[in-house]
């Protein structure tokens, strides 16, 4: 078992004062309970920064009263969204990851989601995946005019509802701070690392399965690989039945190391982790 370098284990921190303030806007007809972000950030996920106490304005404009208003609780709630919906979790994560790289129109983001291999296991259409993330304050919604420009709050001041509706032509989505912190917390590399360390005797088998799944394979291949091995008794009491080989698949997929696309295959993050492990081993 190798020690992992800081590039995986450590996190860079961001100066809290440079984080854009959240501007909020309620839209009854589309997303009544959203916060908006005035600037789409393209920064890579970073460690959760220290957060100032919300200003009275921010606190007042946090519409989801049933979720506590502190920033930390928003992040926790958004993480919980991913945790509590396991079939949609890979897709929710993938969507946030995409939103961290650029701003997407609704149509673009829906199309992207449909193209993800994780979509086949999801229980919801793309629109609800986006809506869940936006409702959880992990995805910012941007109002766009007909020219494709972001409508700043100042442009809406003094307008009637109808005038606002006339001005707003489309919606775009981009990740916000909450979403970035969710990506950090749910980062597969960290979860995978933890998984491989938690029961040391299983480390080699996890690595072997990751390597085995460098090409897409049905579960039956993994079952054949592991069935009958002593490792299936690890953590079991003498006389207990062995684990099913699926336990390794189950845990690797929960950690984001492998993905299902009518067959199991190592994920991008799983590959990156394997590369680091193998590099260290060399």
């Amino acid at each position: 078992m190798q020690d992992f370098p800081d590039s995986i284990r450590g996190h860079t921190t961001q100066d809290a004062t440079s984080r854009p303030k959240a501007a909020t806007r309620a839209k009854e007809n589309l997303h009544p309970e959203l916060t908006t972000d005035t600037g789409a950030s393209t920064q890579e996920p970073t460690h959760m920064p220290a957060h100032d106490t919300p200003s009275p304005e921010e606190a007042r404009l946090d519409i989801r009263d049933h979720v506590a208003n502190s920033y930390e609780q928003k992040v926790e709630h958004a993480c919980h969204l991913l945790l509590a919906n396991p079939l949609n979790r890979p897709l929710l994560y993938r969507t946030l990851k995409a939103a961290a790289t650029q701003t997407w129109t609704l149509h673009e983001l829906e199309s992207y989601i449909q193209s993800c291999p994780e979509f086949t296991s999801a229980t919801q259409p793309p629109y609800f995946i986006i809506k869940w993330l936006a409702d959880a304050d992990a995805l910012g919604i941007l109002e766009m005019d007909a020219q494709g420009s972001v409508i700043e709050p100042a442009r809406l001041e003094g307008l009637s509802e109808d005038e606002m509706d006339d001005l707003i032509d489309d919606y775009s989505f981009a990740i916000n701070d909450v979403g970035r912190d969710v990506l950090v917390a749910m980062e597969p590399k960290h979860r995978l690392m933890e998984l491989m360390h938690i029961i040391p005797e299983r480390y080699d088998t996890y690595k072997e399965v990751l390597e085995f799944l460098s090409e897409k394979r049905p579960y039956s291949d993994v079952d054949k690989l592991l069935r009958g091995r002593e490792i299936l008794m690890s953590g079991r009491e003498p006389g207990d039945h062995p684990m099913q080989p699926s336990v390794f698949i189950d845990k690797l997929s929960a950690a984001g190391g492998i993905v299902w696309d009518d067959g199991w295959q190592i994920s991008k993050e799983g590959k990156e982790l394997l590369e680091v492990i193998n590099e260290i081993a060399r």
Partner: protein, 1076 residues
């Protein structure tokens, strides 16, 4: 007239003028004379005989239908026990059926999991089935067949065989029910182990004898009641099933039957008892042993029955803990009957150890006098009789010691023993409380053993009676041990057949073909390939190694299933089909379940139920709409004693279906996907294919060691597919009609009737539409004395052919899984779990209790974790208004009992400053301390304390509190703002604080602790969202207009829905591929 009316002047005015005129002088002209009110058109009211399925006793009733709407339900006066009674549950069935909160169409969740974002869309049946099948198929492709699981239970929409057989049909071992080990299985299985006969449960209609000869119609036929002394141990018929066994108890007491009630609660049965023993919750085993001590010492037992029809005189090998057989002790001994070994006793005539063969007592007693309580050397080992083993176990439990431990006065215990043991005949009815404690096996072993040593078996007036005859000249009785006492043949796997010889059992296995031959008449599932697969499923069932009694109902150990979800080991059930009820209200340590699911433990949850409960609203992904019993499209009937009543559905709402339809359709759709996948050359991984790993010695517990069986030929659905209802409505009605045609009074009425419509027409307005088995064919006794083909009394279907008071089967079961795990044994139970020096106890004993209140005066030796922090003992019981988790939407029931009572003795209440009607908070280790970590198994907290309303009265003993399960649908009702909603299961639900996390599970059945654990209380306030005032329940009141709820709940709309046609499914019958 005066300008203002006084009462006096009004009355005077009434005398002088007409009422309308008098009123009009004081009120405005809004009131005016009018004609009497008449309906615009006549309506025709039709009455149907039926059975109320508000609870499991299913009382006969009459249902009145007008314009397609049920307008009245009343009890049927000819019910021989209920005699026209209908309890509050029955009277609230109309509100239940027509609740505006019914789910009448398939629904798919569109919001995230959790109540706050619970949103649903209505989808078609095809889409719903396809969605369910695709998720199960996907899970099986991803992780094999063990990734799917099923559950049932919690009251309402009763399914059982459907839940049992669906996972098997898809190659999964995992099924559970919150009842089972916590409700009825222990008592039911104990009866099977001890004499293979009916158990001691009144609620489950095993005990029927006390209710014989109470109804006038039966009395007119000359049927007489024979029950003179009845012990209600941990049972409350007057509360659980008020209309039937409650009514029956009232009638029985009225004619002079004496009762002994053992119950910490002052139930109506207890209040009216001849003797009430308010036992400390969780201490029943000690009380039982005090009875044994007196009865054995004073030889109050039935000597003949004990000596010749029980195994209590058998000498026990101290090394094996099993009775010595004559073949082991006496060289050259040959058993006259190879199916029944002769055992060994101490003969008081010859004063020596002698063989004790099974035989006719009339002959044997001239030859041998087996000692009941004795100790003697056998083959150099000091061996005790089973009676001595019991006496020694009972030795500490003097009346005085028992008083101290059980909180019951010694003189009252003695009085009860005398009444029970000195009666001409008596019987014990054992209720559900004992199933919910560490002593779930010990208590029924002890209580059934008491009736057996007293000879209260198969006698008029006893509770251990059977209602089927023994055929004279019949074979030696046998019993099959492969799930449900083998009542379904070998479809649940191979097991041993008690009463057949080992050679006969081996021959039975040898005769099973390895592979299916399509040209043979043998069904495809009767092959070693499939039957061994089933046996492997049994063994792999979670928790079975330590709690092998669960094999009796083929169910998994619930806490072990939860741990598998939490940890993913030894396999991870990822898709869950739940078939009934509010699991968060019914499962012990509900918070742990909620956390397991909401932390991503289950990928997809499919539910079926008539309405949304906490469980569905919080975490179901797909919901199938179930019928209520008034809508039953399948043909059903129920019995009350020797009467059979039909239970036809008379209305229909929305797209509801019987409980068999979704499992069958989903099973068939999933099977089609899987078979197609296999035909394309892919492999489905059956979890049961695993070879044994890392075991150097014997081939323990794996039917697939070496993986020699070719599973590539298996196809889905495996075995029998989904059972539990006819494959078509037509089939079920045909069989139903034939059954009722067999009754002479009904045959003419059913002439030419072949279907549901014809049956309903024949039944309309006929109050006599029921069948009666003649009393002399039902009230039958002494079956064990009927001469069998071998000339001996028939006896019982046990190894010894006797009542096995010393449950010798329990010893063997713990070691190898025998008789279920046959022909290949299973690993032994973990010795730390077992209480008889590493084995399951074959007798009643007092195991350690996990959570004992500090107020227990003698915790040494029995209390693992005496608690100062939690000084009170909590127990539970039933209420009149609801059955399990049902009917919390019924407004009239809620009006009477809006929130759960917390019953507290005045002395205890005063200590805590609590007055009657105060809200109180109740805490246990599940609501305090460090959060429970499922990986490390550290911590105990899984939720927050619960609340209830104090009912302060002399209804429980001091230092005991009582509370029944509850949940509050108003907490997530559409009338509550979304942001405020909760799942309604944490506010007042006692199962939040019960212990299914780190309790001492009962050794045999794995029962966790729902009663008798330690709690604390303090004054509190009403939970915010909980309704208590009658007007608050208005949203639940059905009326002409409100069969509508906001669109996002997807419930049916307007009156037209009341007359919806029945949804037809024309699926082909489940194909018995047997996997081939």
């Amino acid at each position: 007239m005066q300008a203002t009316l006084t009462r006096r002047s009004f009355v005077k005015a009434m005398a002088a003028v007409g009422a309308a005129t008098a009123v009009s002088t004081s009120y405005s002209s809004a009131l005016s004379t009018t004609d009497k009110a008449w309906a615009a058109t006549d309506s025709e009211r039709t009455m149907y005989v039926s059975c109320c399925h508000g609870c499991i006793q299913v009382c006969p009733c009459k249902v009145y239908v007008e314009n397609g709407v049920v307008v009245k339900i009343e009890g049927h006066p000819d019910g021989p026990t209920s005699q026209g009674s209908l309890c509050l549950k029955g009277l609230n069935q109309i509100h239940t059926c027509y609740s505006p909160r019914r789910v009448l169409y398939p629904l798919k969740r569109t919001g995230e999991r959790g109540v706050k974002d619970a949103k649903w869309e209505r989808i078609s049946w095809d889409e719903a089935v396809e969605l369910a099948a695709s998720k199960i198929f996907e899970a099986i492709k991803k992780e094999g067949t063990y990734s799917f699981m099923v559950s049932v239970g919690g009251g309402g929409s009763y399914s059982f065989m459907q839940a049992m057989t669906l996972p098997m049909a898809l190659g999964s071992p995992t099924v559970f029910e919150p009842g089972c080990a916590q409700c009825y299985l222990p008592r039911n299985a104990a009866a099977a182990y001890m004499y293979a006969g009916a158990d001691q449960s009144i609620a489950d209609c095993a005990v029927l004898e006390p209710f014989k000869g109470l109804a006038p119609k039966e009395i007119a036929k000359g049927v007489k009641p024979d029950t003179k002394v009845l012990v209600l141990w941990a049972a409350q018929p007057s509360v659980s099933q008020t209309a039937q066994s409650g009514r029956g108890m009232a009638e029985l007491r009225a004619i002079g039957c004496k009762t002994i009630v053992v119950d910490p609660n002052f139930s109506p049965d207890a209040v009216k008892a001849t003797i009430h023993l308010p036992v400390r919750p969780g201490s029943d085993a000690a009380l039982i042993l005090s009875w044994y001590r007196v009865i054995l010492d004073e030889e109050l037992y039935d000597k003949d029955f004990c000596r010749f029809f029980t195994n209590i005189p058998f000498l026990i090998n101290p090394d094996t803990k099993l009775p010595w057989t004559a073949a082991e002790v006496f060289d050259g001994h040959v058993d006259p009957d190879p199916s029944t070994p002769a055992y060994v006793c101490y003969d008081q005539i010859s004063k020596s150890v002698q063989p004790l063969p099974y035989g006719d007592p009339a002959v044997l007693k001239t030859q041998i006098d087996p000692a009941v309580v004795y100790e003697v050397e056998v083959k150099g080992k000091v061996s005790r009789t089973a009676g001595k083993v019991y006496r020694d176990e009972a030795d500490p439990w003097t009346l005085e010691k028992t008083e101290e431990f059980c909180w019951v006065p010694a003189d009252r215990i003695r009085e009860a023993i005398d009444l029970y043991a000195k009666a001409e005949v008596a019987g014990i009815a054992n209720g559900v409380a004992s199933d919910m404690e560490e002593t779930a096996s010990q208590v029924p072993f002890g209580l059934m053993g008491l009736d057996m040593i007293m000879g209260y078996v198969n006698k008029p007036g006893a509770t251990l009676t059977q209602n089927t005859p023994a055929a004279p000249g019949g074979p030696r009785p046998t019993h099959n041990w492969n799930g449900f006492s083998g009542m379904f043949g070998m479809i649940f796997g191979i097991g041993y057949q008690t009463g057949a010889t080992p050679e006969q059992n081996e021959a039975r296995i040898a005769a099973i073909p390895d592979e299916w031959d399509p040209s043979s008449p043998v069904p495809p599932f009767m092959t070693k390939t499939w039957l061994y697969a089933l046996n492997q499923l049994m063994i792999d069932r979670l928790g079975m190694k330590n709690h092998k009694g669960l094999y009796e109902w083929c169910h998994s150990h619930i806490p072990t299933v939860r741990e598998a979800i939490e940890t993913g080991e030894p396999f991870h059930p990822r898709v869950w089909f739940d078939m009934s009820g509010n699991k968060f209200a019914m499962l012990g340590s509900a918070g742990a379940w909620y956390n397991a699911i909401m932390n991503g433990g289950v990928d997809f949850i499919i539910c079926q139920y008539p309405m949304m409960t906490s469980f569905q609203i919080e975490c179901a992904d797909l919901m199938f709409p179930m019928e209520e019993w008034l809508e039953a499209t399948g043909a059903t009937e129920f019995g009350q004693l020797n009467y059979s009543f039909p239970c036809p559905g008379v209305i229909h709402l929305g797209e509801t279906v019987p409980n068999t339809v979704p499992p069958q359709r989903v099973c068939n759709a999933t099977a089609a996907l899987l078979n197609d996948y296999i035909e394309q050359g892919n492999k489905v991984v059956f979890g049961f294919e695993g070879a044994k790993v890392g075991v150097a010695s014997r081939n323990n517990g794996s039917y697939y060691h070496g993986n020699t069986i070719d599973t590539s030929k298996l196809r889905f659905p495996l075995g029998m597919g989904v059972m539990g209802g006819a494959n078509s409505e037509k089939e079920s009605w045909t069989a139903h009609i034939e059954k009722f045609k067999a009754f002479p009074n009904l045959a003419p009425k059913l002439e030419g009737v072949t279907d549901r419509e014809g049956m309903l027409k024949a039944m309309a307005n006929d109050p006599d539409f029921y069948g009666v088995t003649p009393p002399d064919m039902y009230w039958i006794y002494d079956q064990h004395l009927v001469p069998a083909a071998d000339g001996l009394p028939t006896g019982f279907a046990t190894e010894s052919r006797k009542c096995e008071v010393y449950v010798q089967l329990a010893i063997k079961m713990g070691r190898t899984g025998f008789p279920y795990c046959y022909p290949i044994p299973q690993e032994a139970v973990d010795p730390s779990v077992a209480t008889f020096d590493g084995d399951y106890s074959p007798i009643c004993n007092v195991p350690k209790q996990k959570e004992v209140p500090a107020s227990l005066s003698d915790p040494e030796g029995f209390a693992e974790d005496p608690s100062d922090e939690f000084p009170l003992a909590l127990t539970s019981g039933r209420v009149y208004y609801f059955h399990h988790g049902t009917m919390r939407h019924a407004p009239f029931a809620r009006e009477i009992y809006p929130v759960p009572d917390v019953r507290i003795n005045p002395e205890t209440a005063a200590k805590y400053g609590i007055a009657h009607g105060d809200w109180v908070e109740i805490s246990s280790r599940r609501t305090q301390g460090e959060p429970y970590d499922p990986v490390t198994r550290q911590g105990t907290k899984t939720a927050e304390p619960i609340r209830g309303r104090a009912y302060v009265a002399e209804v429980v003993a001091p230092n005991v509190v009582w509370m029944e399960r509850f949940w509050n649908p108003e907490c997530f009702d559409n009338s509550v703002p979304a942001e405020k909603r909760t799942g309604g299961w944490q506010e007042c639900n006692v199962n939040v604080i019960t212990n299914a996390v780190d309790c001492r599970f009962n050794e045999v059945f794995g029962s966790y602790t729902n009663r008798g654990f330690a709690v604390n209380i303090k004054k509190s306030t009403k939970p915010d969202l909980v309704w208590t005032e009658p007007k608050e329940f208005a949203p639940f009141m059905p009326n002409n207009e409100n069969q509508y709820t906001p669109a996002d709940a997807g419930v049916a709309i307007n009156n037209a829905a009341l007359l919806t046609p029945i949804v037809e499914f024309n699926d082909p019958p489940t194909t018995m591929t047997g996997g081939f």
